[in-house]
């Protein structure tokens, strides 16, 4: 299925929304309004969008500590997300989860995760449910280069093949796990090399290129929906910010981020690629929309009420 004009606009809107969301969280964090650990996804938008543009609400994703982009890509409400990050009662998780635990089962988002490698096993289960219930759905595990070394990730890939699950493993290799380089921690050149050992196809794509991710994902989703089992996609990409807010990034080369922003911005690349089909003004209009959306989300989040004291002990058991 080729991308329609509407699809392209939608893809751009999602990427731009992620970017704007993250740049704004960065600012609000610095102002002191946002508590806790916050990991920004800016720079990696083409991955979330390229993957999620292939998915419906019935499909599931599991995310990571760096989850805002996956949420937005999958269609989680931006207002709820922002309020959650501010710890407010109107948040997606009523203020109990925060940035690292945003989940929204209605849109198929099984949760960000504070545990590196926590998601891939869950995705096997989501894929199993789709398979046994014959929904035709697929499930996607996003994970980083760091998580690619975690035992849970390997086990999940093996299980997905053994059970022939409609699961897709998306390794977002941004070169770092915290301050440790993937060059050091990943024992092979490309994470996709590992696919062979798990009996599944593996491919490495340029994660700054929405179209490259989209196409690789399209193949993988087709295979999965048709009973062909799991796939591994590695997207090589970069993060614009530190590991978390507050990271001074001294492990990076001095001009590294500047260079990346200048040369590897997925939004700029997208604009260039669609230039002949879509007028810049149309995209600019989206930019303006998005900015308004995020302004509004932040304003609402700040104004929103805190959780109530009695919320402390609800939601822990359904019935005790």
């Amino acid at each position: 299925m080729a991308l329609s004009r509407e699809d392209l606009l939608e893809a751009y809107r999602r990427m731009k929304t992620i970017r704007e969301f993250e740049e704004r969280v960065h600012v609000e964090f610095a102002k002191g309004g946002i508590p806790g650990f916050v990991h920004l996804y800016a720079g990696e938008e083409a991955s979330a969008a390229g993957v999620c543009m292939n998915l419906t609400d019935d499909d599931k994703i599991a995310s990571t500590h760096r989850g805002h982009g996956h949420c937005i890509g999958k269609g989680v409400d931006v207002h709820g997300m922002m309020a959650e990050i501010f710890g407010k009662r109107t948040g997606t998780c009523r203020g109990k989860g925060g940035s690292m635990h945003i989940a929204d089962l209605d849109t198929g988002m099984l949760g960000a995760n504070g545990i590196v490698g926590g998601g891939p096993p869950l995705v096997c289960g989501a894929a199993l449910a789709a398979k046994l219930k014959r929904t035709g759905g697929v499930a996607v595990a996003f994970f980083g280069d760091g998580a690619s070394n975690q035992g849970t990730t390997f086990e999940a890939m093996n299980l997905a093949t053994v059970w022939r699950l409609p699961a897709i493993f998306v390794a977002e290799n941004n070169g770092y796990a915290e301050a440790t380089a993937a060059k050091f921690s990943v024992s092979c050149e490309d994470i996709s090399t590992r696919a062979a050992g798990f009996g599944m196809p593996g491919v490495t794509v340029d994660g700054h290129d929405f179209f490259a991710v989209y196409e690789a994902m399209r193949e993988a989703v087709d295979r999965a929906r048709n009973g062909g089992g799991p796939s591994l996609i590695e997207a090589k990409l970069d993060r614009f910010f530190g590991h978390f807010e507050g990271d001074n990034q001294n492990y990076r080369a001095p001009d590294e981020v500047k260079r990346i922003r200048a040369e590897k911005d997925c939004l700029q690349r997208f604009r260039a690629r669609v230039a002949s089909d879509i007028a810049a003004a149309e995209l600019d209009a989206i930019d303006a929309d998005v900015r308004k959306l995020i302004d509004d989300a932040v304003a609402q989040a700040i104004a929103a009420p805190d959780p109530l004291p009695e919320d402390l002990t609800t939601d822990v058991y359904i019935r005790y």
């Binding site: 109990k96 635990h101 869950l122 299980l159």
Partner: protein
């Protein structure tokens, strides 16, 4: 005459009836079928001790063998539960929790809370506990205190075939994650079990024996040992009330506290390791909430703070037996 079956048959029957009732119930684990991919028979094992035998023939793809990768398949069960299935997942021995614990306590147990009440993870993890099989330090632990410590988990420990069936059906229908602990020394225990399906609610202790002098709280295999001790003590005129909490989380505090209000004396018997264990947990409850009634020190009867030894002579000393329970009761019965 009521029908009698074995503890392990009661579990099989509970699984069978629930799988028949609800097509969302699935079963997975290592060799829960047995023989997958091999040249011999399918359903070769039906679980390492035969507990799930026969389900494959009836439910086909709804029961699945797994690779040895507990994190992946326990996590898969959790993910499937969040997506509408009701997985019963077998962690063969509770001793193996260390290779998959994260998926249980950071994922399954916390989803509902972290996600602001917007998720449920109705998963049951069936697992074998307990010493007595000369299975040594890595296949004989109890470890349910570790699960009881975790908010969000329910922990169930049946002590008879009747409880096994009713509690397992409840566990499967329960919308919270449940750790279901089966003492392997009880598998061959016979008892009356209704053929129709029934549930035993969580958080309701069973008063196994009524008595007035000393309250004994015991779990799993220790319930039978407490009964032996109580029978011997009765001959000397010491009347014991035996309470089996059946679930450690939720815990039926009221039944325990009321009993101690009557007897004024408490012995807690637990096969788990003593530190931060269930014996301590229940003793603390009583010292806090029934202190006024207490007439004697609380006695804790547990194994020593050591791993489980292999040699039979040592393992028999390790396991708290009727004699130790009896001695503990006598000590506090005489206290004044």
């Amino acid at each position: 005459m009521a029908r009698k079956i074995l503890f392990q048959q009661a579990i099989n029957e509970a699984l069978d009836q629930e799988m028949a009732r609800d097509s969302n119930v699935i079963v997975m684990g290592e060799d829960v079928i047995g023989g997958t991919g091999a040249d011999g028979e399918m359903d070769a094992w039906g679980g390492v001790l035969g507990v799930t035998k026969g389900l494959y023939g009836k439910y086909g793809e709804r029961i699945m063998d797994t690779p040895i990768s507990e994190s992946a398949f326990v996590g898969a069960a959790v993910g499937a539960a969040a997506c509408g299935l009701r997985p019963v997942c077998e962690l063969m021995f509770i001793d193996f929790l260390g290779v998959c614990f994260d998926q249980i306590y950071n994922q399954a147990a916390k989803f509902r809370y972290m996600f602001g009440g917007k998720a449920k993870t109705p998963i049951v993890i069936r697992t074998m506990i307990g010493a007595g099989f000369r299975a040594a330090a890595q296949h004989s632990q109890c470890l349910y205190p570790v699960f009881t410590h975790i908010p969000g988990l329910k922990v169930v420990i049946p002590s008879s075939p009747y409880e096994a069936k009713g509690l397992l059906i409840q566990a499967i229908r329960d919308d919270d994650p449940v750790i279901f602990c089966e003492h392997k020394a009880l598998y061959a225990m016979e008892g009356e079990v209704p053929e129709e399906s029934y549930t035993i609610p969580f958080g309701e202790a069973n008063v196994v024996r009524e008595g007035s002098d000393v309250t004994i709280v015991a779990l799993a295999r220790m319930v039978g040992f407490a009964e032996k001790a109580a029978a011997a003590l009765a001959k000397d005129g010491i009347s014991c009330e035996i309470i089996d909490p059946r679930t450690t989380s939720p815990l039926d505090e009221d039944t325990i506290l009321e009993s101690v209000e009557n007897t004024g004396r408490l012995v807690v018997v637990d096969e788990a390791s003593p530190r931060c264990g269930m014996a301590a947990d229940i003793a603390a409850l009583v010292a806090q909430k029934a202190f006024g009634a207490l007439e004697a020190p609380i006695e804790l009867v547990t194994p020593p703070h050591t791993p489980v030894p292999f040699s039979g002579v040592l393992e028999d000393l390790y396991i708290p037996g009727p004699a130790r329970i009896e001695a503990a009761v006598r000590r506090i019965a005489e206290y004044a």
